[in-house]
């Protein structure tokens, strides 16, 4: 398995996209953090970058990479290697460099220029989002047969989580606003890793007060230590569940 990961990593380093991605993130982070004298504002801008670009880039890049390496995977499977090992190695090979790119690109400037708990939270949520969306990419890859369809599904998935889900949530809140829906809303956002990441991060910043303004439950719950553990546990679920599903599907898949 290690050897496969090594080959995937070598392949990725050769095409340099990861390097460029790291560089772009680093430039973004440095410029945003230097632009604002207020570190908290810089963090908010970086949060926007993380919530929008990280999912899109991760899922598209991973999906395309998986589809492109389909011949390599088929070749590997002709050898006496377990299918689950191959697919997991592919996942690690893609997800780890992407996470490292985020960790270095955003993390290093962040910890140098604005070290704080909030910065660490942003870093953790960003890395988790990278792992989640590459895991979803893998699921898309094993589920769909051809590349065009796969990429289409990837785009829809990322749009769903960054935009559609919130729209539906807002519609839900609107139509049931006469009922005590606070706890239901907390439950619902567990189904969207992007929302979870956003709320987890915002609660570390001053602006959290705005969210608790009405004494709403989610500030009380998600703002507590239990709440943070809950959000991170949910995010980890989002990494593990699609991954296990992909392995199961891939094991039975007729290639």
């Amino acid at each position: 398995m290690k050897t496969i990961i090594k080959y995937v990593l070598l392949d990725l380093f050769r095409n340099k996209v990861i390097m460029v991605y790291t560089l772009i993130l680093a430039i973004l982070a440095i410029s945003v953090l230097n632009l604002d004298d207020n570190a908290s504002k810089g963090l908010l801008s970086l949060l926007n970058v993380t919530l929008l670009f990280v999912p899109i880039i991760t899922i598209l890049f991973s999906t395309i990479y998986f589809f492109n390496s389909i011949e390599f995977i088929e070749l590997l499977l002709s050898q006496p290697i377990k299918r689950s090992k191959v697919v997991l190695a592919e996942y690690y090979g893609v997800a780890l460099p992407l996470a490292a790119a985020y960790g270095i690109g955003i993390g290093v400037p962040l910890l140098l220029l604005a070290p704080s708990t909030a910065a660490v939270t942003l870093l953790i949520t960003g890395i988790l989002l990278t792992l989640i969306f590459s895991s979803l990419a893998l699921l898309i890859f094993v589920k769909s047969k051809d590349k065009t369809k796969g990429i289409g599904v990837a785009i829809i998935t990322v749009l769903f989580f960054t935009l559609l889900f919130d729209g539906m949530l807002l519609a839900f809140i609107y139509s049931f606003s006469d009922y005590p829906i606070d706890s239901a809303v907390v439950g619902i956002i567990a189904f969207n890793p992007v929302d979870l990441a956003r709320v987890l991060m915002l609660l570390q910043l001053d602006v959290a007060v705005l969210m608790g303004y009405s004494g709403a439950l989610f500030k009380k719950f998600l703002g507590s230590a239990t709440g943070s553990v809950f959000s991170i546990a949910c995010l980890l679920f989002w990494v593990v569940v699609p991954l296990l599903l992909s392995v199961r599907i891939f094991n039975k898949k007729d290639l």
Binding site: L51, L170, D182, I189, V209, G212, S214, G215, A216, K219
Partner: protein, 409 residues
Amino acid sequence: MLRTVIILLLLASFISDADSTTIRLNAGGSLQAMLDRTPAGDTILISKGFYKQNSIIVRKPITLIGEGFPVFDGAKKNEVIIVTANNVRLIGLHIQNTGRSSMVDMAGIKLQNVTNVLVKNCRILNTTYGVYLQNCNKCIVEGSTIKAYAKDELQSGNAVHAWKCNNLLIKGNMLSGHRDGIYFEFVTGSLIEKNVSFGNIRYGLHFMFSHNDTYKGNVFENNGAGVAVMYTKGVIMQNNTFYHNWGDAAYGILLKDISDSKIEHNKFDKNTVGIYMEGSSRIHVANNEFTNNGWAMRIQASCDGNVFERNNFVGSSFDVATNGTMMLNTFKDNYWDKYDGYDLDRDGIGDVPYYPVSIYSVITEKIPTAMILYRSFLTDMMDQVEKVMPSVTPDMLKDDSPRTKKWKL
């Protein structure tokens, strides 16, 4: 001849009477006993020391001057000094540890039904109420530090508490750690100047039914709920600073049923809500600086005839929030940092009106739960779309002449 001598003698005796004597109270001596002995108009110099004396009642117009802050201790049981005579002056005293009672409002210094009393340069520590003015006229509280360590609202009192007074001057005091920094109820025609009120559990300043008062150059900082003022007309608030009143239910200033007032040249920085306004009319809000607030202003639809002009709004999460579509107030000539209109004739006034209420702020005002979507991509997009085609936001709430450059305030 004899007559002249008698007159002269009489005059001389008057002069000597008027020329008050100064007596010294040595450390440890009983102040109450000395007060009872001393004739009206005299001055008592109190030597530096620790006086475990309390419930001292000043019944005559006497000046008490402390040297090196003599300490009067209420032993956490009683009040310390009660003034019931006019023209009393208390200068340079250190008063500490009053009791706490549900029957009596225990105060470090209590002024009861008096006129022309001065409290100056005193240190009042760990009291339930610092200075308590009850039915007073023309009294001054100046240059004093009033500090307590209250933990909850019910168990604590106010640093300066005034009830049914007239013509007070509260100037240059440091007020902290009480329930309210300054509390006024039925206090009229007073001036509150250059005080610093910080770290109080509830309000930095709290007044009700206190007409025609002026607040100038005060600083209200880090108070549990900021400043709340209610049921009053003719208030003038100028050059005050409202800083970091940040919390789930904190306001820079909360106005409820205030009318015919002026709020000018103030600074609102880092408050959850800069100005919250409810049932208020004809207030002139001008030349204020709003920076980094959650909501710069929340103006309920029950307000009318207010004018907001020449203010700077910078770095607010939400500029203005309101709970209705009706808007009877005027916004003009303000600078909004979120304004993205154009100014073709370059006269410093934007050519398209600015709508300070964003659609997301309308939604969260109706349904606070929607706040969970704060800073999501969706709400940003909705705000942009609404800017192009306003449909939900109150179209009457707009600034027709937004400035393109910040006012220098």
